[in-house]
Symmetry: C2
Subunit: 330 residues, 2 copies
């Protein structure tokens, strides 16, 4: 992109944006100005996709990089029960990057933004002397006392997860191995669907006591909710909704599917807890989630930590991974 | 920092934060939740500091990296007339970076945040396979119909600038040359003071018709206001408030001080226009800006483009630099 100047590149991007009427000042000024939503709280999150850490350009196409950069942020908003509104896009571009790759990143990001009615209201573009980086800040709104935090789980609550597990890890491994780089697990890895509607329905119906997304895996999310809520979480290994292609991949490669799916990241599903007294509202929310499968996978007890209950008894939940310690996956 | 895990590093940072009561959910959940300000509009901006593009670790200490990463964003809010409230911090850290450098970045960022009563409400931390990057998103508030945009200048308006010019460029060049790496120009480059109060006073008093910050230099800012407002801007070279140390540096190195100061970036002053009918309100705002010098440097006319008027007549404003085309400075 070094043959195109910064201003020309910004114009190329802003020409593709359409702005809703509540954007008072959009891209092209020092900052963006938004009309707030009456009676709602503001929700803000930021997450970066870094080449060589979160994606590998040899097998992640440009549009998937853009899709993922937005999806991980929408997943964070979903986990708070927030309705996404707007994003700021911070692009750090290597000089040798093709302009068509920038267009591709925008293609993927803007398609997902349109699907969720999210406005790109501003951002920043700079050269990178190293990796390609797409850093997105997303803002949304949530009703007062409706935010889904991690600290509300109590003994006796039931534990649920949306969608299916293991696809993120199995999809990544399939792409890395360059075998069968196709199928639902690969699609899940490349273009995850953030569970925005599920988060909104849980929040608006006050149907969950705690919620978190699985960006760092089920094991990590369960551990974080258990710690923030000062409870013990018991997960039933046999109940985990492991995707068929993911299960096949794990079994073919000699891995225990439940352990692999629990430890793997990049799934972007929601893990949440439901109080017995919330069951009626939860059933109401379920009806509004359309075709999304929701699976009960465990329960909350007194104590601390997370255990995986299998046919051979209980064992501690395997360690998830931290982005920092393990650079090979998200 | 590779010996410290991601969670440990996040805990190390969040332990240093103090949060105002309008932060409903702070760091440690999927996203931050804020109580909005009644009757105000939300203002959002993002800007990254990338090692090798915006700073050189050989002569920019860690605390200055943190200071600058926040200052460039506060400067953008100031240029909109917004009051800063909160920031999200996105850190991309090379594995070989010392933990003391992370602490230093936080030192500089948090000291400036405290000075402006800005809360760090969340963020994200990841490894970088290449450069150190500090990407900040800042949010603030501005009264309805009080935002200072770039498009409001009209023929007959007067043109003003805050503070002094040329220090950013002269300070950078002095540091690069490793000579006299001290003095006001060097301090200005390393730890610029964003003109938050000046922007607020101009906005609240409705004392400016257009405003922009000088992060990419006076030439660039004048050109952008002229283009967005569809006017011609005439800048008086003799009136430019060039800092004495910057002037000395330019003269010693055979550069025309006015041209160098106009083209150079990293000054983070405000360029703004005042309608003749606003003069009374402008004088009121001036009294509230305390010791900050404000200099009239030109006027707005019919037409397009920007000219620099000197003793030899008018000449086109020199090109500023774009981050993208010129990687040697900010």
């Amino acid at each position: 992109v070094s043959d195109l100047g910064e201003h020309a590149l910004i114009e190329r991007i802003t020409a593709r944006l359409s702005l809703p009427p509540w954007v008072i000042v959009g891209p092209g000024d020092d900052a963006a100005v938004l009309e707030p939503v009456r009676g709602a709280l503001d929700v803000l999150t930021t997450d970066a996709q870094v080449e060589g850490i979160h994606f590998d350009r040899r097998f992640v196409p440009a549009d998937a990089i853009g899709h993922r950069a937005l999806a991980v942020n929408l997943s964070d908003l979903a986990a708070m029960g927030a309705e996404p509104r707007a994003v700021l896009l911070s692009l750090m571009l290597p000089g040798a990057l093709a302009v068509s790759d920038v267009d591709g990143i925008l293609d993927g990001l803007l398609a997902l933004a349109a699907e969720h009615r999210v406005a790109v209201i501003g951002g920043n573009i700079t050269r990178s002397p190293g990796p390609l980086i797409v850093d997105v800040t997303a803002t949304g709104v949530v009703g007062r006392r409706r935010a889904l935090t991690r600290s509300g789980a109590r003994p006796g609550d039931e534990v649920y997860v949306t969608g299916s597990l293991g696809n993120g890890l199995a999809g990544l491994r399939a792409l890395q191995a360059q075998t069968a780089a196709d199928g639902p697990h690969v699609s899940h890895y490349l273009r995850p669907a953030p569970r925005v509607r599920a988060g909104l329905m849980l929040s608006r119906n006050r149907a969950a006591s705690a919620c978190m997304d699985l960006s760092d895996g089920l094991a990590d999310a369960a551990r974080q909710i258990a710690a923030a809520s000062s409870v013990r979480m018991v997960i039933d290994a046999a109940a985990l909704p492991i995707g068929p292609e993911a299960r096949g991949w794990f079994e073919t490669h000699g891995q225990n599917p439940a352990l692999a799916a629990a430890a793997g990241g990049d799934d972007y599903e929601l893990l949440f807890t439901v109080r017995p007294s919330q069951r009626g509202r939860f059933r109401g929310a379920l009806r509004l989630m359309r075709d999304l499968p929701i699976t009960r996978i465990g329960s909350v007890a007194k104590g601390t930590g997370v255990v995986l209950r299998g046919p051979d008894g209980e064992r501690p939940m395997p360690a998830g991974f931290e982005h920092f310690a393990d650079g090979t996956a998200d």
